[in-house]
Each structure stands twice: as structure tokens, then as C-alpha cells.
Symmetry: C2
DNA sequence: CTCCTAATTGCAAATGGTTTCCATTTCCAA
DNA sequence: TTGGAAATGGAAACCATTTGCAATTAGGAG
């Protein structure tokens, strides 16, 4: 039964308690949506889906929940340049495949890629270690993104 | 005379003409501000400085100019998470040192670093080549950023 | 199981960075 | 020098996100 631990407890309940956050219906729904979808949802998209599940959920809750999820590093927040933030589960019970993004600067399409990610992460880990010592900076995560024109946008001009 | 070519032509004039953009007083001033400053200016900061040089310049021009500069890849636009975009010259006549950023998720302070950048760029170049072929994506630039807590923020809790 | 209280929530209003409208001014090729 | 496209400024519009506040709820204490 992927996504759950024994006793029907969602895998993230413990983490919530650790942070002192309460487990509410709204938060369950939002996490569920993020877990089910595989990519890059905007707050509004999450709101729309959540709303069909439970019309009582307001936009404010979406934003506030996404905020604490980011703080907990359960969710990654991205800026792909289209004026709205995008959210993606950063991990899960069975482990989400670590990936990076290719962002089209013309149509804002985003492609996930995993090629070379291991190499990239290896190098970043070494860099991290070095920077942590040098700047006394406690690094929690990183971001790698490539920008350019996707096939469509490149052709149509 | 760094920053200029013969005849007093700023180094970026040719590039402007290539794109069909006109060279105006406002644009000269904005480029000048970016070239003089070494880091991460917001549109408002640029506006304030530009305004002291020539009070006729409006905010709109700042945004529009930064936009075409980004399109020309003369300027890099960053999101450090404080709700406003930051701009930085991406290159110059004498070559700006390529660097990446360490972003404090608590106070939004940004530290430039150049450690390992050569290695990073080497790997990224290989990755780029591979991704370009695989996804038919014409890559123009990349972004690497580390997030975490800076010395101050880490200590004060 | 019931209570109590701090945490959470929804709604509406406020925010604030960025974009758009449009009439006027400016650049620059011919 | 001149015509017309490009650029500009000020004000209004946009719109994703945040905030104020009163009502609701989760969940530990008893």
C-alpha cells in the first residue's frame, strides 16, 4: 500500500507532529493532490482540485499550507518565469526520483530530466561541503535549472 | 579605458543594433548603473539611482529596459525569494566573473561564490550537450543556486 | 470522553511588484 | 531634414499572494 504506513497513517504525519503542526482535513487533501500529481502545480491549480474535493477549502489555506510544507522541505517551490509559483513534492514514502528542470523561456514549458543528475548531485555535494565551511552557511537544498527554447518554440520562428 | 570601444561607443551598442533596438539616454543610464554596481539590483533600486541621474526616467522604462536586456541575455534576472526580481549584468567588455549564489532562506541575503564554478560549468556543458540532443531543446543559459541559513540567521536561533 | 486553548481557517480587503494604456516624444535611416 | 516606427512617462490596471479578524477545530490534559 504505497503512500501509507501501518495503521493508515499517512507517511508525513510524523513529520507534521515533529514540527508541531496539526493534521487537518485541508492539509490532508493538499498533500494528497501533490502526491497524486507528478508535477509543477500552481497554487490555483491545487485550489481548484481541492475545491472539488471539499468546497469549504479556501485559497488562503492553500497558500498557508504550501508555505509550511516548503518550510518543512516536504515541498519544493519553483519559479519558472510565468508569474506564479509552482509546487512539487520533494520526497515521498517511496522516494521521488530526483530531477532537475529544462524551462522554455518562450512558452514556459517545463521538462523534467534525470540525465546526469547523479553526477550533478555528486558535484553539488562536494561544493556544498566546501561552501558550508568557507561561508559558514548551513545549506539545505539546491536548485539547478536550464533555460532555452523548446522544440516547438525553436521551430516556429 | 575599460567598458568602451574606440570612438566612445559603449561595448553593447553593437549588440543593441543587432537586435534592432534603439540606443536611448534611458537605456544608457540603466546599463551604466548595472555595469557600475556589482550585484543583484532590484528594479526599484535601479529606478532610484537612475532617477537621481535623470529625473525624467520613469519606472516603466526601467522594467521595459530590463526586459529587453534579459531577452538579449545581457542581463540575468534572479528570484531570491523576497518577492522582487533582481538583475545582474551577465557579461561585460572585460568579462564578469562567472559565479553562482548562496541564498539565505531566512533573511534573503545572497552570497556570490566562484568555488567549483569551473567544475560545475564543465559538467553543465556536458549535460547541456546531452539534453540539447535528447529533448531538442536549445539551451541558452543555466541557473545554480544553493539555499540555506547564513551565519547570522543560523546562530540567532 | 469532555474541555480548553492555541492553532487553523475562510472571507474579504489590502498589498505591492509588474504590466498595460495611450498620448507624446525621440531615434535614426533614407 | 524628415517621416514613421520605436520608445517613453504617468496613471491606471493587473493579479498573485498576504493579512486582519472573527469563527471553527485539532488534540492534549484531566
Amino acid at each position: 500500500m504505497p503512500g501509507r504506513h501501518r495503521k493508515g497513517q499517512a507517511w508525513w504525519h510524523g513529520r507534521f507532529r515533529g514540527y508541531g503542526y496539526k493534521i487537518t482535513a485541508g492539509r490532508e487533501i493538499i498533500l494528497g493532490i501533490l502526491a497524486r500529481s507528478e508535477k509543477h502545480l500552481s497554487a490555483e491549480e491545487i485550489y481548484i482540485t481541492a475545491h472539488t474535493i471539499n468546497p469549504a477549502i479556501g485559497m488562503t489555506t492553500i497558500y498557508r499550507t504550501l508555505d509550511i510544507l516548503s518550510k518543512m522541505r516536504l515541498v519544493n517551490k519553483f519559479d519558472f518565469g510565468d508569474g506564479r509559483a509552482r509546487y512539487e513534492l520533494s520526497e515521498g514514502p517511496k522516494g521521488i526520483r530526483h530531477h532537475h528542470h529544462l524551462v522554455c523561456t518562450s512558452c514556459n514549458r517545463v521538462i523534467d530530466y534525470t540525465d546526469f543528475v547523479d553526477e550533478e548531485v555528486g558535484l553539488l555535494t562536494r561544493t556544498e561541503k566546501s561552501l558550508t565551511g568557507k561561508y559558514n552557511f548551513k545549506i539545505s537544498h539546491h536548485l539547478i535549472q536550464f533555460y532555452g527554447l523548446c522544440e516547438n518554440c525553436h521551430n516556429e520562428k
